[in-house]
């Protein structure tokens, strides 16, 4: 039974696309069939972050409008064969995505894959609502920062009212993914702590991704961080989050750098 997951946040720049790529790759690396779908029409970036930008021929809108078949638009990842990407369009008008068309494509994707992961555009407008409408579960990406937490609260409200599940009177599964977290600053009380954010948003935590250089390095070379540096702290956090999404019960820990003396001596960063 396929599961549709939306990665959303309200606020832009908190790590939706990075997290979609990393979670999608992590789930695919565990052997499951995964497709990541870019809903950010006009500002597509998932293809770039995943290193597939030069392989885009058809996109989501072509498929929604019936100009291309789904199989023509899907791009299979070269590093991980169970991972595919359905890119968004870069130029076309946002209104080209019709609700009926999206519903049809989502049904088709559900048949082909174990996981359909939708990368939502920022904001709370139509595009974001279309991305979340068919979801069974949502990952709400939040930074430990006031504006991000506030926008996440708005998005949680929308998930509870504007999705198909909500309209049917069912509950949509919600997971908080805290990104760009700096444990040292939180300990000095200069940054909202995990507990603060959880208390305010009151949804279950699926992972804590630390602020890390590895995330930018991964997007520089066009690879999900779980593929390019699987030993790094953010990759470990995404792997664990993916296992929790698959239903495993593991405690969420705050990721911290553990450097062995020998690594330190050679200036090498080790991961926990």
């Amino acid at each position: 039974m396929a599961k549709v997951l939306v990665v959303t946040s309200g606020k832009g720049g908190v790590g939706k696309t990075t997290s979609t790529a990393a979670l999608g790759a992590a789930l695919a690396q565990s052997g499951q069939n995964v497709v990541v779908v870019d809903f950010d029409v006009g500002l597509r970036n998932l293809d770039l972050v995943m290193g597939a930008e030069r392989r885009v021929v058809f996109d989501l809108i072509n498929v929604v409008q019936g100009d291309a078949r789904l199989s023509q638009a899907l791009i299979r990842d070269k590093r991980c064969e169970t991972l595919s990407i359905l890119p968004a369009s870069q130029t076309r008008d946002k209104d080209a995505l019709t609700s009926e068309g999206v519903a049809r494509v989502m049904d088709e994707l559900r048949e082909k894959f174990d996981w359909v992961i939708c990368d939502s555009p920022a904001g709370i407008e139509r595009g974001a609502q279309l991305a979340m409408y068919h979801a069974d579960a949502a990952v709400i990406v939040t930074n430990p920062e006031v504006s991000s937490v506030r926008d996440s609260d708005r998005i949680i409200g929308l998930l509870d009212s504007k999705t198909q599940k909500a309209e049917r009177g069912e509950k949509i599964e919600k997971h908080l993914l805290l990104t760009r977290y700096d444990p040292a600053r939180a300990a000095r009380k200069e940054m909202l702590s995990v507990e603060d954010v959880l208390e305010i948003l009151s949804i279950p935590l699926v992972g804590i991704v630390p602020e890390s250089e590895d995330v930018l390095k991964a997007s520089n070379v066009g690879a999900p961080v779980t593929l390019s540096s699987p030993e790094s702290l953010p990759a470990q956090a995404y792997f664990e989050a993916a296992r929790r999404l698959s239903g495993e019960k593991i405690d969420v820990s705050v990721p911290t750098e553990k450097r062995r003396f020998i690594d330190w001596l050679f200036g090498k960063k080790g991961a926990a």
Binding site: E145, V146, V149, R150, D153, R154, G157, S161, A186, R188, K189, E190, M191, L192, S193, D196, E199, I200
Partner: protein, 93 residues
């Protein structure tokens, strides 16, 4: 001495605690007042109240104000209808 006390007091409240408190107050307010469901409810109320009034008196759409305040202890629905001049005169005579 008060200068020292101020300095000490400021030290105690960390910026993350300030952030948490501000968010809690703001979100408590937004969750109760800013929801779209609420404005749908108000629209519906406005429409139905207008219908009832229109059966008896001709009232201008803009002369009916409906407000809903949700507090922690109690909520208040405020309906403000401005009745046309001639009607109030008729009733008085």
């Amino acid at each position: 001495m008060s200068f020292l006390a101020n300095l000490f007091a400021r030290r105690q409240q960390s910026t993350s605690a300030v952030a948490r408190d501000r968010l809690q107050i703001l979100l408590a307010h937004e969750r109760s007042a800013g929801e779209e469901g609420e404005s749908d409810l108000l629209k519906q109320l406005h429409k139905e109240i207008m219908e009832v009034i229109a059966r008896h008196v001709a009232v201008d759409q803009d002369k009916v104000q409906i407000k809903l305040d949700r507090g922690s202890g109690c909520s208040m629905l405020e309906i403000d209808v401005e009745v046309p001049q001639e009607l109030s005169n008729k009733r008085a005579s």
